[in-house]
């Protein structure tokens, strides 16, 4: 038994159920997503299967059969993080493994020492508990046979949680050929484009396929089926495409004893960052951002992602942004550990053009922005742009990148009048004497506020309204002229509120 396969059955669903700590007795299903097609069941748990539900069944039909069925939509992030954990688990068994699919890993056990296959399976499944997900583990002479065996609970050793955690060791590798042919559809490693035809041929089990003459099969359905035939008969062997994780540009330093100020951190960081930058340079990469994580003696932690204005290999630049950041934080307790991680990207080679001036020092600018955001708050810094709405004064704040990259919206919002207006932010509540006139009261005099007096002329109303489908708003604007040629804009919001929204000129 040189190869093992680890399979996480129904991973998109089980990862969701594990996160929500769902009751295994409660029927649950994951739905397919699609545009026009009707939603159908993609995965279901065992409790759901007991209600005579099956994969591919329409949602409504499934609900008809099992009204208590809990429906889930896929969460790719959760699935990805489960996969990362699974990779760590597999890596702890052997460094020689292949990531065959999103939920299946093939392991080369030729360099692993174990007393007996059962003992290894037992130990591996015990280790697998830390994933908190059900898993199948199978051993075989070839990687593909191990893969096939792991797809079914009948031919693999399993870890289940129903109702409590349970390990079952199987030695039924011989029964592999009794598995249904439809099993091949569960893995993209065994493409079966002619599945409908094979069904018409009456092939229900893998053994049925094995029983067909290889030559006849190849003549009719081509080399893919011949290869599958070889896999099933154990004639096909292949090398694993070994997974090599991307090298990390990270380092950790533990302080012994814990330190109170930030200067020792900066001192240490200078050296550590230099090493990381050298490592990046050796791979023709540059640092795009610096991730800092601090652990404190009282158990607290602090982490921050420090994005750089442009990719750099200069440890001093990294150190400067780190310094700016550390200056702005309160350390709750002595620091026990610091961790730095650099995100790698391709280094940028740019040349300033004749008529296009870039920032002389983008890092300096980025540093200034960080200092500003420290003062006004991160949400209060950016490029304002009028929102695509008629709601007066509404604007959106676009994040301000150090390289000043900014794409304005496609439709420019042009001013509706020729006179510039100094907008009152926020609009100033004023008292207005008005007369009722249709739906919109007409202002007669400004009674309070910085500009008071009888209105000589009023133009309007300009009624505006919107967002009626969620947060409805409506108001009407008036342009008014006070004595001394003072032009103002006032706004009436039903029923009785008036605001001074701007002064023209």
């Amino acid at each position: 038994m040189s190869y093992a396969a680890l399979h996480l059955p129904a991973l998109p669903l089980t990862s969701l159920l594990a996160r929500e700590q769902a009751d295994p007795a409660c029927p649950a299903a994951l739905l397919s997503s699609g545009k026009r097609e009707k939603s159908a069941i993609l995965f279901l748990n065992e409790a759901a299967a007991r209600h005579d539900l099956s994969v591919g069944m329409s949602t409504t039909r499934a609900l008809a059969r099992c009204p208590d069925l809990v429906l889930y939509d896929a969460d790719p992030t959760l699935e990805a993080s489960a996969k990362v954990e699974a990779l760590e688990l597999v890596d702890s068994f052997t460094p020689d493994y292949e990531v065959t699919g999103r939920d299946i890993f093939l392991l080369d056990l030729s360099t692993v020492l174990f007393a007996s296959p059962e003992e290894w399976l037992q130990r591996a499944l015990e280790e697998g508990r830390r994933l908190g997900l059900p898993l199948n583990l199978a051993l075989a002479e070839t990687p593909d046979l191990a893969h096939l065996a792991a797809l079914s609970a009948r031919t693999s050793s399993t870890l289940r949680y129903r109702p409590k955690s349970e390990i079952r060791i199987s030695s039924e590798a011989a029964s592999l050929h009794q598995l249904p042919l439809s099993l091949l559809g569960r893995s993209s490693a065994f493409p079966l484009p002619q599945a409908d035809l094979l069904e018409l041929w009456g092939l229900a089990r893998l053994s049925d396929l094995v029983a067909l003459p290889r030559q006849g099969l190849a003549e009719r359905l081509g080399p893919d089926l011949a290869r599958l035939h070889d896999i099933l008969t154990g004639k096909h062997r292949r090398l694993l495409q070994l997974h090599r994780p991307t090298q990390g540009y990270h380092t950790t330093h533990q302080f012994e004893p814990p330190i109170a100020g930030i200067d020792p951190i900066l001192f240490m960081a200078r050296r550590l960052l230099q090493v990381l930058c050298q490592r990046l340079a050796s791979h023709q990469r540059a640092a795009e951002s610096l991730h800092l994580a601090l652990s404190f003696e009282n158990g607290a932690a602090h982490s921050r992602h420090l994005r750089q204005s442009e990719p750099t290999l200069d440890p001093d630049i990294l150190l400067r942004s780190l310094h700016t950041h550390l200056d702005g934080i309160q350390v709750p307790a002595p620091v026990t550990e610091c961790h730095f991680r650099l995100s790698a990207t391709l280094p940028r080679h740019s040349q300033h053009q004749l008529f296009q001036r870039g920032l002389k020092d983008p890092h300096q600018f980025a540093d200034t922005l960080k200092r500003l955001s420290g003062v006004v708050g991160i949400d209060q810094l950016g490029i304002p742009q009028p929102a695509a709405s008629y709601q007066p004064g509404l604007f959106e704040l676009h994040p301000l990148e150090a390289d000043l990259k900014f794409t304005p919206s496609e439709e420019p919002v042009l001013p509706s009048g020729r006179l510039p207006m100094k907008r009152q932010r926020p609009p100033l509540a004023v008292h207005v004497a008005s007369e009722k006139q249709g739906r919109h009261p007409r202002p007669l005099a400004l009674l309070t506020g910085p500009h008071q007096g009888t209105i000589r002329e009023a133009r309007g109303p300009f009624p505006l309204s919107g967002s009626w489908w969620e947060a409805a708003w409506q108001q009407s604007e008036w342009d008014i002229e006070l004595p001394k040629n003072l032009l103002l804009q006032v706004t009436h919001t039903p029923p009785h509120d008036w605001h001074l929204t701007g002064v023209y000129g």
Partner: protein, 1051 residues
């Protein structure tokens, strides 16, 4: 005066219907309204009718979009109003050209039209562009035909544009026109307007931003409000009145004239007098050939009818219809007139209908009367499919170019599409709309508009839809994934109801054609239909009828096609049948009807008909006509079915409502079942004139509004009161008439249908094999799938043999009285070309092997697999079974020297089991000649479950458990929420009644499951028919879903 409104027929621009706009305009005090919709007169017919009713005038016009006059810029939107009929004809032709031949250059000059340059006319309305545009318009339409519109929607910045336009008007000496260019009738309709903007721009409300309106000012405003808005431009307001006066054309002056008859030999259009002579001549020939000349009554009736036709100057119409029928007959196409034409002896003599109205005692006035304003209605049924298309194309060709077109069918937003579009606009994911569509099992339940929301604050929607009023619908929405507490629940509900029934796009009517010999595009714009070779007009059949445009309905009837095929087979087999000559008193046919053995027949095959037949016990032809008429929504809703059956069985005395009605209602035992009876009742008891009776008929058959009905009912009541008719009788009369609103069924129509129904039953009894063969060859049609028809055939001693390449033709054929051979067309996915090639090759010589077959017929890979899997290759030499054929056919024959050497036969694959064969048959053909799926299921799992064959032996109230395949689910609007299911097993069909409560508890199971297991008790109805009153319903365990042919649901 508002001249630039847009209705919902400017698809996705206007948010109110033309009727709504006109009504609102009248309410506000406008004397006229112009609704120039985008690229057509789509809504003008409706606006015209509504305006006539409201006492105002609808100015006719259209907006040209993306149009450029000769030497001018392209106009994004250019409203054009019609002054005179000549202008209307020019505009109509221009619109037709725009739709049908956009490549044609625009006309150099157009007259009798008024064109308006608006702030929205140009995409880039700069000073220079506007000047150029105005000059080009003056050149094309004339200097007195151009106005410049000013809009005031109370938006910032619009004054700058208005000043520019006013300067331009002064510079070119053009008049200004004040308008609000409304897109909706009331302020509250802005919500739907915004939703339409999003649909047009393919975005959600959240993303629409400034593409939405800034406020709700684009609604129809009163003349006072317009005056107030344009106090600084009084001349612009004045001009709107002048322009409205000047555009005096209305659709009243359409100038439509039914075409004269064109003599075939000389291609000359006949004068009315010549038409009269010709009609008289051929009618009298028909009288002789139908042997009617011996009866005095017939001779007298013919004379009366001909005089009436000549008096009304309608002979050309009869000749044209006769010509169409003649063409069909010459091509061997079966056809039969129906509708009120069946009341006319002339139509019978001309061969248009096959019912002798004198013998049937039918009312000729229902068809044609001295006082009747509109054209008589002649509908002709043809076999559906290519044969009907041949007739339609004959009409197109005869009146080409642009002399004939189909009437339109306005496709409106239905519950599913309304929900899908509105939920999309509100940003809900598509999966919610998908779920709604799945849950919306019987969409009619949600087809009712809620009470109109009160016009409160512009944007407030609270309490628009109290939950108790829309309970079921709200629940469906909640189950679709939008909880009641969702902030967008109410907007969704509002938009759904607002858009429901609004026009969505234009389709074509199933068979209504209008014709003209002077160019139909002078009358109404034409546009190409989706079907090649067809054009449609922009009005639907009601609009055409309202405007006096005569329509000939060339309808497709699947049963006629089936009967024609059956008759053809009878001729081939030496047993020809003449449908006109079959005896109308055949006891065996009535026996079949009495025992409700009517699966596959015409009109009497539905579940409700089959339940009534044993009670009704039809024994003569008129009984069948009543049977056809009685199971209709009208009599059912009006509660007329039970009184009639009770009277017929003697359990209830006959009551004529009033002694005066006895001669009218005698044949239907005092129950008014037919439209003619209702009209006669009105004429007798309320002294209605022929015209008033016709008004009543039109009110009863108008599907769009019930206002006409209310008016005519009031008139009826007042006349009866004046004649001293007592209150109780009045109520009964009004009730009887009310039942017919929407669902009126004329006696002549019932008789025409009964004729086809009788013929189909006669064929089923006497030419059983040919009958089923005809049915199978003309699917889909009727209530039952081919699978159910084959099961029924089996019960009548006719078995089917599977399709096979050695014996089968393209279509199903009759081998002998008890055996059919399925055609190769039953194998879904087999191309017609391949079938033809197969028949050709087989005619050259038999196939001596599978290799020979594959070499000569050259089916593609998919077809090879289909033929093999269906067992169609089994009878070829060296083919053992289906899987053997599949294995062999998968490898193409090699073209080498040794190709003819027989290979060693290798049996690699095992034969299919019966279940596999059945599954494969149903997958490939939708039916199987093998056992019923339930027989296989019963063998394994259900020995103790009752089957449908046992039900008739059970007594009323017996508890029962039965399982079967769902072949039909019905939940008609008349059933008060109850559901009817037909469950088929190997012994027959069991009828289930699912009470409303059980239906709600098991809605999804009923909707989604192809096989059901139900428990309940037997109810024996009056006619001895067993029905199961269902108490419990569940999916059938161990029933593979793929063993289910398609059911017939909720139609």
């Amino acid at each position: 005066m508002e001249l630039l409104a847009k209705s919902s027929f400017s698809f996705l621009y206007g948010a109110s219907g033309p009727e709504e706009l006109v009504e609102r305009a009248a309410e506000l005090g406008h004397g006229a309204i112009g609704i120039p919709d985008h690229l057509g007169f789509y809504g003008s017919a409706r606006a015209h009718q509504a305006a006539r009713k409201a006492g105002i005038r609808a100015v006719v016009g259209a907006t040209l979009t993306d149009w450029a006059p000769v030497g001018g810029p392209t106009f994004a939107q250019l409203p054009v109003l019609v002054e005179q009929r000549k202008g209307y004809q020019q505009l109509s032709q221009l619109l037709t050209a725009r739709h049908c031949a956009p490549e044609l250059p625009p006309p150099e000059r157009m007259t009798y039209l008024q064109v308006i340059l608006t702030p929205e006319s140009l995409l880039l309305p700069t000073k220079g562009n506007l000047l150029k545009a105005a000059k080009s318009l003056k050149r094309t339409f004339g200097p007195k035909a151009v106005s410049i519109a000013l809009y005031r929607h109370q938006r910032r910045g619009e004054e700058r544009m208005n000043r520019l336009l006013a300067d331009l008007a002064e510079h070119l000496d053009l008049p200004l026109l004040a308008s609000n260019a409304p897109l909706y009738a009331g302020r509250q309709d802005r919500l739907l307007g915004d939703a339409f903007t999003c649909l047009r721009e393919h975005c959600t409300l959240d993303d629409a931003g400034r593409r939405l309106e800034a406020n709700a000012e684009r609604h129809l405003k009163s003349p006072t409000a317009i005056h107030k808005l344009f106090t600084d431009y009084p001349q612009a307001v004045r001009h709107s009145y002048e322009l409205a006066e000047r555009c005096e054309f209305t659709l009243e002056n359409l100038g439509y004239k039914f075409p004269s008859f064109c003599e075939q030999d000389t291609h000359r259009l006949l004068t009315v007098e010549e038409e009269c002579q010709l009609l008289r001549k051929i009618t009298l020939q028909g009288v002789i050939s139908r042997s009617l000349d011996k009866s005095k009554k017939h001779r007298q009736q013919i004379e009366n009818e001909l005089s009436m036709i000549e008096y009304l100057r309608f002979p050309g119409y009869f000749l044209i219809v006769w010509d169409i029928v003649q063409f069909a007959r010459s091509q061997g196409i079966l056809c039969q007139g129906r509708g009120s034409a069946a009341n006319s002896l002339v139509c019978y003599a001309l061969g248009i209908t096959n019912v002798d109205p004198v013998e049937g005692g039918l009312l000729f006035e229902r068809f044609l009367s001295e006082n009747r304003k509109s054209w008589p209605d002649i509908d002709i049924d043809f076999p559906s499919g290519d044969r009907r298309e041949a007739v339609i194309q004959y009409v197109y060709e005869k009146y080409s170019p642009r002399g004939a077109a189909m009437t339109a069918n306005v496709i409106t937003y239905r519950p599913r599409s309304a929900f899908r579009e509105m939920s999309k606009v509100l940003g809900f994911p598509e999966s919610i709309a998908n779920r709604f569509s799945e849950l919306c099992a019987s969409p009619k339940v949600h087809d009712e508009k809620a009470d109109a929301p009160m016009e409160t604050q512009e944007l407030s929607m609270t309490n628009y839809y109290p939950r108790d009023k829309v309970m079921e619908f709200a629940e469906t929405i909640e189950r679709s994934g939008v909880p009641y507490s969702h902030p967008r629940f109410e907007p969704l509900l509002h938009l759904y109801h607002a858009v429901l029934h609004s026009p969505r796009h234009l389709g074509q009517h199933s068979g209504g054609m209008i014709i003209s010999d002077s160019g139909l595009d002078n009358i109404v714009p034409l546009q190409p239909a989706t079907m090649p070779g067809r054009t449609v007009v922009q009005w639907d059949k009601d609009d055409c009828e309202d405007l006096g445009i005569v329509k000939v309905d060339l309808l497709g009837l699947g049963m006629l096609a089936a009967m024609e095929d059956a008759m053809h087979l009878c001729r081939q087999r030496g047993q020809p049948v003449d449908l006109a000559a079959i005896p109308k008193d055949d006891p065996a046919t009535y026996d079949l009807l009495c025992r409700a053995d009517t699966v596959g027949t015409f009109q009497v095959e539905s579940r409700a008909q089959m339940a009534t037949l044993p009670i009704m016990q039809p024994r003569k032809f008129y009984d069948l006509a009543i049977e056809v008429a009685i199971i209709r929504p009208g009599p059912i809703v009006g509660d007329l079915v039970h009184p009639f059956l009770n009277r017929r069985t003697g359990r209830e005395p006959v009551d004529y409502i009033h002694p005066l009605f006895e001669p009218i209602l005698k044949r239907s035992l005092g129950v008014p079942l037919f439209q003619e009876q209702v009209l006669r009742m009105a004429m007798t008891i309320a002294d209605f004139t022929g015209t008033e009776a016709d008004e009543l008929r039109r009110a009863m058959s108008c599907k769009r509004s019930d206002e006409r009905m209310v008016l005519v009912t009031e008139k009826l009541r007042s006349r009866m009161t004046a004649r001293g008719i007592n209150e109780a009788v009045q109520e009964k009369v009004i009730h009887s008439i009310g039942s017919f609103a929407l669902y009126g069924f004329p006696e002549s129509h019932a008789i025409s249908f009964a004729l086809i129904a009788y013929s189909s039953c006669w064929l089923k009894v006497h030419r059983t094999a040919e009958f089923y063969c005809g049915l199978i060859n003309n699917q889909p049609m009727g209530f039952y799938s081919v699978s159910s028809l084959m099961q029924d055939a089996k019960r009548h001693g006719v078995r089917c043999k599977a399709a096979c390449v050695v014996h089968s033709g393209g279509q199903t054929t009759v081998i002998d009285d008890g055996l059919l051979r399925l055609g190769l067309d039953r194998i879904k996915g087999l191309q017609q070309r391949t079938i033809e090639r197969l028949e050709e090759e087989r005619a050259r010589g038999e196939f001596d092997s599978l290799t020979d077959f594959l070499t000569r017929v050259r089916p593609n890979k998919k077809e090879r697999r289909l033929l093999a899997a269906a067992g169609a290759l089994n009878e070829l030499p060296e083919v053992g079974h289906r899987r053997d054929a599949l294995w062999q056919a998968e490898r193409l024959p090699e073209d080498d020297l040794f190709a003819n050497i027989t290979r060693n036969k290798e049996e690699v694959l095992p034969p299919m089991t019966p279940v596999e064969r059945l599954g494969t048959d149903l997958m490939i053909q939708g039916h199987s000649v093998g056992p019923h799926p339930m027989r296989l299921w019963r063998k394994e799992h259900g020995r103790e479950v009752t089957h449908s064959g046992h039900l008739s032996e059970m007594s009323h109230g017996t508890p029962v458990r039965i399982a079967g395949l769902v072949i039909c689910r019905q939940r008609p609007g008349t059933a008060k929420g109850h559901c009817f299911i037909s469950l088929e097993d190997e012994y027959g069909i069991a009828n289930l009644f699912v009470p409303k409560k059980t239906f709600h508890a098991n809605r999804l199971t009923i909707t989604c499951e192809p096989f059901l297991m139900v428990s309940g008790h037997v109810q024996i109805s009056e006619g001895g028919q067993p029905t199961i009153y269902v108490g419990r319903i569940e999916p059938l365990g161990h029933a593979p879903a793929e063993l289910a042919p398609k059911s017939h649901d909720y139609r």
